[in-house]
Every structure is written in structure tokens, then in C-alpha cells.
Chain length 230, copies 2
Amino acid sequence: MAKLDFSPIADTTRRAEIVALLRRAILTGQLEPGQKLNELRISEQMRVSRAPLREAMRELVQEGILTSIPYAGTFVINVAAKDIDDAYSFNKVMDELAIERAWKLRDQRFFDELDRRHEAVKQATRDLDTTRQIETALQLHGLIYEWADNSVLLETWQRLTSRLQMYFALHQRARNEPVPSEDVHETYVQLLKGKDMRAAQRHAREHIDLDFEELLAYARGLEKRASKGA
Amino acid sequence: MAKLDFSPIADTTRRAEIVALLRRAILTGQLEPGQKLNELRISEQMRVSRAPLREAMRELVQEGILTSIPYAGTFVINVAAKDIDDAYSFNKVMDELAIERAWKLRDQRFFDELDRRHEAVKQATRDLDTTRQIETALQLHGLIYEWADNSVLLETWQRLTSRLQMYFALHQRARNEPVPSEDVHETYVQLLKGKDMRAAQRHAREHIDLDFEELLAYARGLEKRASKGA
DNA sequence: TATTGCTAGATTGTCGACAATCTGCTTGTC
DNA sequence: GACAAGCAGATTGTCGACAATCTAGCAATA
């Protein structure tokens, strides 16, 4: 018999689809930070009852991109500069760890997948699809976590990813300028293919620095304006 | 006017109470790994409808101590040796990070709180209350995370804590022997009060090693027996 | 004028019932 | 006896309605 690897079929509950829809809306910025989610309105728009919607919202609360206040409502999380800074410095350490763990496990499949994801980023860049560009860049970045062979590390990264994607989408929308067309990931990919682990770690750290610094500056600006307005 | 810091009043939704009840049942081992949670039966026992129960279960699924299969049921997660090993090696790195971040921020309040939590562990040990002993030991350990001033790091620790507590409770119940009565945390506390950060990090790493190694051996034994039985 | 108490509307939390799906058993066929 | 089809029971997923709570606005009071 031919060996066939069937993947589990998709979860076809309304709940799962609602989670996907809401997450996408939040991560792409269609739902803005701080915005309240009106259950009745959303359930009517989605043609779904409130029960699965509420369950979906509970999941996203635990995922860390929604926050709930009993009898008041469920809101998209607010983004403070401190939050971004925390995520950023945490991410730096996690990256070093992931590269270290994944390093010895790199194989041909790893390199192939690396190229595939890199190509996806370049495609999104050519298409001027900023949302997809962020998404694919994070997926490219996530490969080292998938290869690190540690479920807790991977899970932590995935949780962090949600928020990172939200932050970057927010930033992109705000500055509203064409995405950088040059390929900022070329060096990263090459280093991951190379022999110098320390160099790869160092570059990951510095490369992340760049993106985050810009993001941080933007968030700080937001807060300064907010405090003046108040 | 006297300055009074009121803390937010407790969430008094059924959902929140259910979450607390279920979490406690899982972490103390009243609900065993792999066990299925029958919604109807539990809701009847708690005198609650299935809606808030289901929402509570969604939260715990995201928290990582329950797992859900559509139309099949929601189960307490199974504990594989690999999971414990992953949590263990991840925890080592996190600990080093937390100590490093918290080190400069230690103050009198930190030392006081450290003593307070240490005392709580000793009290639980005197009471021969194993569940509480695990709980307080993790709280003692968590102080460095609370002091590290990084929300993501703290949140990650808290998520990990749930599973750690479950693992240790499982272990304790299994070996079914009186808890060690000597104070294994004395050195840890003293080092956190001292001046040598590296020494504190090293001890945290080695101290954790001990507990985990025993736990791992136990889990591996379980799996070996399970594979033979099948 | 500032503060308190009340009311109406909107929104969230909870409930009981129904629909969709799974599981195990029985039945029938070869 | 082996196997597939189909039925019954149990369980999960979803729905619509009701109860509890909050918020904003207005009236009453000092």
C-alpha cells in the first residue's frame, strides 16, 4: 500500500471559523486597538448566534489580543509602548534560543522550507500587499521555532506572533507609505544556511532591532499625543 | 483626602468561578490527564447551564491544560515525557532571563515578599499539604518573574506554571509518599538576596534540574508501561 | 451649581431546547 | 463468521429568549 500522510480534516465548527475571522480582522487592523466588540451586531453580521461568537471571543481573550471586562464588554487590546518593548526584548532572547536549538537539526527540508517562505515574502513585496508581507515575514521568522523541537517554545512564539503581527500592521497602516521594496531578509536566510551560528544569532538580534525601534518610536509618539489630548 | 488604592473588585460571573473550579480540579489531579469532561454532567453538578461552562472550557483550552476535539469532547491534556522535557529546558532559559532582569530591581519589598512566600512554603510543608506545597513553591519561584518588569515574560511564566503545577501534582500523587520535610528553597532564597547573580542563576538551573529529573523518570516509566500494555 | 437618585435603553451573562454529529450495537447479507 | 448498513442513544454545537448589569440622561434636592 502506498504510504499517504493525511492531515486532520478542518474543524468545521462555526466557532473555529469565527475565531479565524475575528483574528484576521484584529491582526490586519480592521478592528482597531481599544475598540469594543458588540456581540449582537457582530453575530448578526456573521449570521451566527451569540453562543459560538462568545466562545470564540473567550479564546481570543486567552490568546492575548482581546480583553474582557464583565458586563462592560470585550475590547481589542490597547498597545502601549511598554508592551511593544516587552515583546521586543523577550523576542530577542527567544530568537537566540530558537536558533541554538534548531541549528543542529537543520536539514534539506529546512533549507527548502526556508527558501519557500522567503519566496513568499518576496512575492508579497512584489504585490505591494503589506498585510501579507507582514504575515509571510513572521512565518519565515517562525521556521526556526518550528525546527527547535520544543513544543513550549513554539507555542510561546505563536502566541507572541499574534501580537507582533498586530503591532506591525498598526505601524504599517499608520505611516501609510509603500513598503520597502528591497529584500531585507536575504542576509538572514543566508546566515541560517551558513556555518556560523553566533553570526546568525547576532544578525537576528540586530535585524529585529531595526524594525522594532521604528515601531517603538511610533508607539511613543502615539502616547505622547494621547497624554496631551487628555 | 487619604489616598486609598482600591483594587478592582472580583469578577463575579459564573464563568470566572467555573474557570477557577475546573483549573483547581485539573491542577490538583482530581481530573486526571486524558480524562474527558462531560459537559452535561459537570453543568448539573455545578448547578450551572452549559453556556458559561463551555466558555470556561474554551479559556482553559487556550491556557493549554485542556484540549478540544470538535464533536468528540474536551479532555485534560495528556502528559508525555517530551512535554515535560520541553517545559523543563524552556524553563531553564526563562529563569536565567528573569533573574537577570529582576536583579537590578530588587528592593526591600522584594526581599520581604521573598521571605513571605518562603514562609508559605515552609508552612505548607509543616502541614503536610502537598498540593499547597507545590502551589506555594511555584509562587515563590514566580517572584523573579513578577519583578522582571516584562509583561510578556510574566505571562509566559504564568502559562507555564499551570502545566508545571499539574505535572508535579501528578508526580506527587503517584509516588504517594510524604513530602520532603527539609527546606530545599533555603539556598535559593539566600542567593537571591546576595550579590552574585551568576551564582543565583546557576543554582536556579541546578535546583530545577533535580525536581525535573525525578519527574521525567516517572513520566518515562509511565510511557514504557503504556506501550507494553498496548 | 454640584451631587444624588431614578429611569429607560442598550448590552452582556445565562438558560433551556433543538440540531448536528459521533459511537456502539444490532441486523441482515454473503 | 466477517462485514457493511442502519438504527438508537448519548454528547457536542448552536439557537433564540430571558435575566442581570451597566450607562447615559434627566429630575430632585441641598
